[in-house]
Amino acid sequence: MIKFLFDTDTWQEIYSSIRKNKTRTAITIIGVMWGIFLLVVLLGAAKGVENNFNRLFGDFATNSVFVWAQQTSKPFKGFQEGKSLTLKMSDLESIKKEIPGLEFVVPRLQDQALAVNDFKSGRFGVFGDYPELDEVQKMDMVYGRFINHNDIIEKKKVCVIEEEIYKQLFDKDVQPIGTYIKINNINYKVIGMYKKGQIGSGGPQGNIHIPFTTFQQVYNRGEDVGWMMITGKPGFDITQIEADVKLLLKNLHKVHPEDDRAFGSFNLGKEIAKVTGFLTGMQFLTWFVGIATLIAGVFAIGNILLITVKERTKEIGIRRALGAKPWEIKRQIILESVFLTSIAGSLGIISGGIVLMIIDVTLGKGDEPALTNPTVDIPVILIAAATLVILGTLIGLIPAHTAVSIRPIEALREE
């Protein structure tokens, strides 16, 4: 078999067979090429969308849920409906104690504030945060550091600013770390700057983070908590955690257990699962379309080989009269099929790759790219190539069978 593959006669025969039907062979090859091309480009594009999605949401732990307090909508235990609720620090302790599978429970406080640096000023969102926020919502630090435990304990007047705020409050090329800015007329030392996250929350023009304890004191919040971010440990269902937390909170705040409006929440895990589901669906569709097109293309190759075999009936008859065994005729035709599908496949993969490169250059650049790194994994390419070779072999069996089903005597009689 190996010898057969490296024999000049083998390839000479394939070449002469292809040469006889140049145009038809070329058109057929385009059919298969198109199939694998679609597969590569669509999978690459789907991957690009997925990468982009991960880039946007990648800052957040995907198994997290945000919980905040609202107003009751049902009377309970002597309270009228419409009672305003506020989360307390003690709620956090209870949640941590009662509910299993929690990774982090991070309280946050939020307000709007006027920030001034020399003659520049702006209104921004101000947050009171714990260092753990960095674990839940990854801060991409450009300069300095995020709030640490020492800041919390000593209630330091320090702040971490977003790059956007730096642009508004500082002159170009000024090092912000170590300088002071005024937030509601109180001086804070800038200790860090981070790059804008894709999903901002709070202020329209950027966020400032100060230690949680500082915020409590400065804004006189006592034990109140604005909202909290909860992440589950791997293996724990975040939707279940969400339900458990809310039920516990209702219990603690004397709220009717069926009051759905008392506490609000946003389940990031669920939202991400939706998009991931969409992406999975898109990939499935891509595979389906790609493979279907491939099959159609490979059938076309089978068809062209049938024609070739028909035209070469006499030659095949001669070969058999000279002692070619049926298998020797068959393998030749199967190899031809595999050869054509492989050529078509390689061309399809290469052109698909080129198109992905073009997409990357045109759509994948800039601040808000539509796609990020549209690529196809090597194993996927290998699977596609293997599928192609297998299909090529299977489809080659049909003309191969036709070639040897005609008896040599009849083949020789053919003019």
């Binding site: 001669i318 070969r319 058999r320 009269a321 000279l322 002692g323 008896r407 005597i409």
Partner: protein
Amino acid sequence: MIKIEKLHKSYPIGKGSLHVLKGLDLHIKEGEFVSIMGSSGSGKSTLLNIVGLLDNHDTGNYYLNGQLIENLDEKKAAILRNKFLGFVFQSFNLINYKSALENVALPLYYQGIGRKERNKIALQYLDKVGIKDRAEHLPSELSGGEKQRVAIARALVTNPKVVLADEPTGALDSATTHSVMELLKEINREGMTVFVITHEEDVAAETDRIVRLKDGIIISDEKVQKKSNRKSYV
């Protein structure tokens, strides 16, 4: 070499069947130069196809080189054809995209002989049929006589037991016919059994033994009386 006993063959035609060979008995010994004569429809081609293992017979026995031929599948038939038989066809049946040399070497390819070796052997046989200098030419660049010489070289290249020639001169003019027949004679003189099918009297006359076929029956089987004594060649 070839022994046929009570050979019958019929072909289905529509609902009925056409009885082509009606009980042939024929014995061809090693080294004979035999021609089968007959008009078209006499069954001579059918006989050649059966002898050439290209077709199956219905009843009767066929021994090739002492081996009873029965229940042949395509693979076995292919091996036997390659080993024992060399074919020469009326229309040459050369493969048009292969050079003369490659055409001659083809049966050796199916024996699994390496490229260098088979080209060497093929060249020897092209030399033997006198067209070594045309080795690299494609069939389309050769004359009819040259093509048939290539075909004869191809038939001989596996050193078979029998050369089967089906109207080998049917597509040739008289001068070329003569030279091709001379070549076949020469091959026969070297000991090869040659089995020629023809409808031309003068071609048959060049052979040693003429078997006449009519309507599927052998009507005569006689040695040819030569003007020149054949023994003088030996």
